[in-house]
């Protein structure tokens, strides 16, 4: 890691907007949504105050992981166009502030989850933060092209935490929800990394398109979309969800596989020709939102 400028005595205190940006609010919105869906899909609903606090803790935990990720990766972010304007690489905040903010937020979210919900939910939240920061950010990201395959597990925790916060125990359905996000993450990120490959190459991040090439990445995207689709539909035949969810999951997943097939067929080597990749990336976000919304709708109105 190259060292970044540390704030001088003349430096301004960090603006709260930059502290907010450190939490990766856009990623947080997906995390909050899947966590909420996990909670709403559970057979028991906690009191409103406890449910709200648990979701808040999931959001704060995700924000803490995002802040610690940006603290550690400030040197990488400075090398990539997509991330160069973040508070740390742009020099709007010193690294120590980001570190203290991230650790404080992580500790606060876990303790509050323990107080409001239960020990298991707090433990899972702590594991998800540590997994994202230590396993993905520190250990895997700069070392292997499998970084997001294994690291993707961190993003798969929220629906499980939401479920456990509501019920106090694990069950087959949240584990399938975990599997869906785990299998969704590689095609989602590889689609993005195809058209920002030059950024990752410049920063020497071993993303699959950089290490294995475009064709291999497109093949992997398609191959991962198949078990992902199977996992998405699985709750229906396993009688863990109803017809409403099953039909929605089948239609949404078919769309995903078709789009992954279009990516597989694409031969473009420059971002300008990567429309299928850009479309798959956009669709993958909508897919996850829609899938979890269908699960909640099935539980509440389709039963």
């Amino acid at each position: 890691m190259t060292s970044l400028p540390i704030a001088t005595p003349q430096a301004l205190p960090a603006d709260w907007r930059d502290l907010f940006a450190l939490t990766k609010p856009r990623v947080m919105s997906l995390v909050v949504f899947t966590g909420l869906a996990g909670m709403l899909a559970a057979p028991a609903m906690p009191p409103l105050a406890i449910g709200f606090t648990a979701i808040l803790c999931i959001a704060l935990g995700a924000g803490a992981a995002g802040a610690l990720n940006q603290w550690y990766e400030a040197d990488l972010d400075a090398l990539m166009r997509r991330t160069a304007s973040r508070p740390l690489p742009a020099g709007r905040m010193d690294r120590q502030t980001a570190l203290h903010f991230g650790i404080g937020l992580a500790a606060f979210s876990v303790v509050l989850m323990d107080v409001a919900a239960n020990h298991l939910a707090a433990l899972l939240l702590a594991v998800s933060i540590l997994f994202y920061v230590l396993v993905y950010t520190v250990w895997l990201k700069r070392r292997t092209a499998q970084n997001i395959v294994i690291g993707g597990a961190a993003g798969a925790f929220p629906p499980v935490i939401g479920w456990v916060a509501a019920t106090g125990e694990l069950a087959p359905l949240p584990l399938i929800l975990f599997a869906i996000i785990f299998l969704w993450t590689p095609p989602h990120f590889w689609a993005l990394s195809l058209f920002v490959r030059s950024d990752y190459a410049a920063a020497k991040v071993p993303m699959l398109p950089v290490t294995a090439g475009l064709a291999a990445t497109r093949r992997q995207i398609f191959l991962y979309s198949l078990p992902m689709a199977a996992a998405a539909v699985a709750p229906w035949p396993l009688a863990l969800a109803g017809t409403l969810y099953g039909l929605a999951a089948a239609a949404l997943s078919a769309g995903f596989v078709v789009m992954a097939g279009l990516v597989l067929a694409n031969r473009a080597t420059e971002p300008a020709g990567m429309r299928p990749e850009k479309r798959l990336f956009g669709y993958s976000v909508i897919y996850l939102f829609a899938l979890f919304a269908a699960l909640v709708a099935d539980r509440w109105i389709g039963a």
Partner: protein
Amino acid sequence: MTEHEQEVLRRQRERSRLLAWLLGGFVILLFLVTVAKIGLNR
């Protein structure tokens, strides 16, 4: 007071105000969670 010092003061005030609101919200949240937990244990 220089322009720089004024900006430092402005940011400090802004953060202090935000922190006060967040602490107030936290107290209310903790109160509501406590009430909910008491209700669950009845």
